[in-house]
Symmetry: none
Subunit: 86 residues, 2 copies
DNA sequence: TTATATTTGTCCGTATGTATG
DNA sequence: ACATACATACGGACAAATATA
């Protein structure tokens, strides 16, 4: 479990805290390019939030170009040298 | 896209302007009975308002019997001869 | 092929907090 | 105080894509 420290009453809303946490993990290299993030369900349990909140966080990562998502498969770390969707 | 002309400063509040706009579309027959309205998300983008505002507009249509909503599916044009929910 | 499980996608229902006029 | 609107969050249901048996 080890729920990350998400504070629902902090000025930063939970979905942004989660996005920041995942961004740190990715940029630190804890997750290699091409490898999948934990599933939305797993992230839901890790952070103790609803799925929609996890999805809002993932949308932030997608917008910043850090990851890409494939329906039915998962969300993957994008290679820094990539420009497209694969 | 083509955001409809919703004027936040008009005397009519946005949710009523949206309700009026959708009512016109329905009565004009642009949308056939049984067919779904655009999703709340799509309407959010079309009118450039928050989801709650779209929902307020849909509530007006529901109260006037023009549409009915199915949880998890969408909001549909009611047949004029219908009395029930289907 | 068929069936099942997993994962993401799309919806709506509801609630709370904040801000404005 | 009230009406309106926005942002955020939780929850539940079902659809679509994928993976595996």
């Amino acid at each position: 479990m080890a729920a990350r420290e998400i504070d629902p009453r902090a000025p930063e809303p939970p979905y942004r805290q989660i996005a920041a946490d995942l961004t740190t993990e990715i940029e630190r290299g804890d997750l290699a390019p091409g490898s999948p993030l934990p599933s939305e369900k797993a992230l839901t349990e890790r952070y103790g939030v609803a799925r929609n909140t996890v999805r809002a966080a993932l949308a932030v990562l997608r917008e910043s170009g850090l990851v890409f998502t494939v329906t039915g498969r998962g969300t993957y770390i994008r290679d820094r040298s990539d420009q497209g969707d694969a």
